[in-house]
């Protein structure tokens, strides 16, 4: 099993930390992982993205031009990465701020209104975990117990009291995600 994922959105949306928590959970479940961020000037206020690979085998290139899954949190990233999803692959997007919808018919497209739902439940700061929950519903690559360990390892000790909220957000995401039919 190898899953090649791109997570993309604005800086500040928790793109990199979502990737880190997923990757660390993979490590705890004894998978091979790589987490390759876009780094540089584009991170300051602009778009941010991270390539996460989780595999049972040694990982080759940490830099990819096509992905099994794209998790998309803004329009620029949708424009950039929809075409990079492998045929038959998965595209998950949060419709918040999306005006031009995805159009491909050869991939599976899911929508998750994570930003809105997280705001309603007072979990805006961890809306990225709602998105992660949606992804894990469709691709249960790591088991909940290892997600818990991944959260423990990724978050500094002073934030460990927030782990139950994070897990709640993941569960909300699992309920929230829905398939989109491209007409």
């Amino acid at each position: 099993m190898t899953e090649e994922i791109i997570i993309a959105g604005f800086g500040g949306q928790g793109v990199l930390s979502m990737g880190k928590i997923l990757a660390y959970s993979g490590v705890m479940q004894n998978k091979e992982v790589s987490w390759m961020p876009s780094y540089g000037p584009e991170m300051r206020g602009g778009t941010a993205n991270v390539t996460v690979i989780i595999s049972d085998e040694r990982i080759s290139s940490p830099i990819l031009n096509s992905f099994d899954t794209a998790i998309i949190l803004n329009q620029q990233s949708l424009d950039k990465f929809e075409k990079a999803v492998k045929p038959g692959g998965l595209l998950i997007y949060d419709p918040n701020g999306i005006t031009r919808l995805p159009v491909r018919k050869d991939i599976n497209i899911y929508s998750i209104a994570a930003a809105d739902e997280a705001a309603r439940q007072g979990l805006s700061k961890i809306f990225n975990m709602v998105v992660l929950g949606g992804f894990l519903k469709l691709k249960p690559l790591v088991q909940p117990e290892f997600i818990h360990k991944g959260l423990e390892k990724s978050l500094p000790a002073r934030h460990h009291k927030l782990i139950p909220d994070n897990e709640k957000a993941i569960d909300i995401g699992k309920e929230l995600i829905q398939a989109i039919q491209v007409l």
Binding site: V27, M36, P37, Y39, I59, S60, S61, I63
Partner: protein, 360 residues
């Protein structure tokens, strides 16, 4: 098994230095390697092991602090990225001349000049052929993963003391910035002063009454003396060539063609190899791990078995010169590269193989 962590390459270097028993780190921040010192500062290794971490006023100061500390037999390290490493070249040449052990980490970014902060491999010549003056060599290690960033740091210290030589870890911005799973080796205690003196009789550790002064220098104004110094250095480099070559091969047994690549490029080529093999192309991968000493003999042997080689580097063609010197001109050897911080994609490497080597 050692402790399991998800770490950036730069963080792995820093943690490995603490665990290897490093006595001191001197450095100056520069992207994309600033996490080395950031991690060390946050980790407060002085509390853990007594290791000193100092932000110098410049890269020139860092390398000269390294010279001074290494002269006392201490286990010391610095790190920087390309423009900062250029500033260190004078000091590196002096350290090679004075036979001082140290680990120098270059997390390479695109050049020339200030260039860019994105990853590159354009400092191969500088590292391998001697960026400073004089006939010197450094052992140059080329990690291709975060695990190797950790392992090569420890290996670097071992080799530095075994040969009394500066050792360079030639990494790049991607390996430095990305996170992967790392198994950390168990901490090794820092050497006591007694052990240090016993193991390094050459070091300037204070003069007892019963022996002469120890002088750490790279200067000998008598040309006959300086030639002796050079002969000694060259003999040492031949020993490194004999004993320290490291490389990795993948799928070379039945290969008609091979990619030759180091560091991050080798990771990309591994993916390209999988893509090309799925198309029925019999291709392998040869990855030099030590860039000096270069794996001349195994490259030469491989050159007798395959039809062509594509050397993939994030530069305009540097290691390809050593590949050609190792293999000779009997087969087709071409270069494919992207420059200035652009990372080649696995697909374009396959295309280059098809057009430059197989179809070319």
């Amino acid at each position: 098994m050692g402790e399991l962590r998800l770490m950036k390459g730069n963080e792995a270097v820093a943690e490995a230095a603490i665990r290897a028993g490093c006595d001191g780190y001197f450095g100056y921040p520069i992207t994309p390697q600033s996490e080395v010192m950031e991690y060390l500062m946050a980790e407060k290794p002085h509390d853990r092991t007594g290791m000193v971490v100092l932000q110098a006023e410049s890269e020139t100061a860092s390398i000269n602090m390294l010279y001074g500390a290494a002269g006392t037999g201490k286990m010391v390290m610095t790190s920087s990225s390309s423009p900062g490493i250029s500033l260190m070249q004078e000091g590196i040449s002096y350290m090679a001349g004075a036979e001082l052990p140290a680990v120098i980490v270059n997390v390479v970014r695109g050049g020339p000049g200030l260039g860019t902060i994105q990853p590159s491999q354009a400092d191969y010549f500088q590292a391998v052929k001697g960026g400073g003056h004089g006939d010197y060599k450094m052992i140059v290690l080329a990690p291709a993963s975060v695990q190797e960033m950790c392992d090569h740091t420890k290996l670097g210290f071992d080799l530095a003391f075994k040969y009394r030589t500066p050792v360079m870890i030639l990494s790049d911005g991607a390996i430095g910035q990305m996170m992967e799973k790392v198994v950390l080796f168990d901490p090794i205690p820092r050497r006591t002063d007694e052990d240090l003196i016993k193991q390094n009789p050459w070091a300037a550790t204070g003069k007892p009454k019963d022996r002469e002064h120890i002088i750490i220098t790279s200067l000998d104004l008598d040309p006959a003396g300086q030639e002796r110094v050079n002969l000694k250095l060259q003999a040492k480099y031949r020993k490194m060539e004999e004993n320290e070559v490291l490389y990795e091969t993948l799928n070379c047994e039945d290969a008609e063609y091979v990619f030759v690549a180091f560091g991050l490029s080798a990771r990309i080529c591994q993916k390209s190899m999988d893509l090309a093999r799925a198309k029925g192309i019999k291709i392998g991968l040869f990855r030099p791990i030590t860039l000096f000493p270069f794996p001349v003999k195994p490259m030469n042997e491989l050159g007798k078995k395959v039809k062509g080689m594509l050397v993939v580097e994030m530069n305009a063609g540097q290691m390809i010169e050593d590949v050609k010197l190792s293999v000779g001109c009997s087969i087709k050897i071409e270069h494919f590269g992207r420059f200035g911080g652009i990372i080649p994609t696995p697909d374009e490497v396959v295309k280059a193989l098809e057009t430059q080597i197989i179809g070319g």
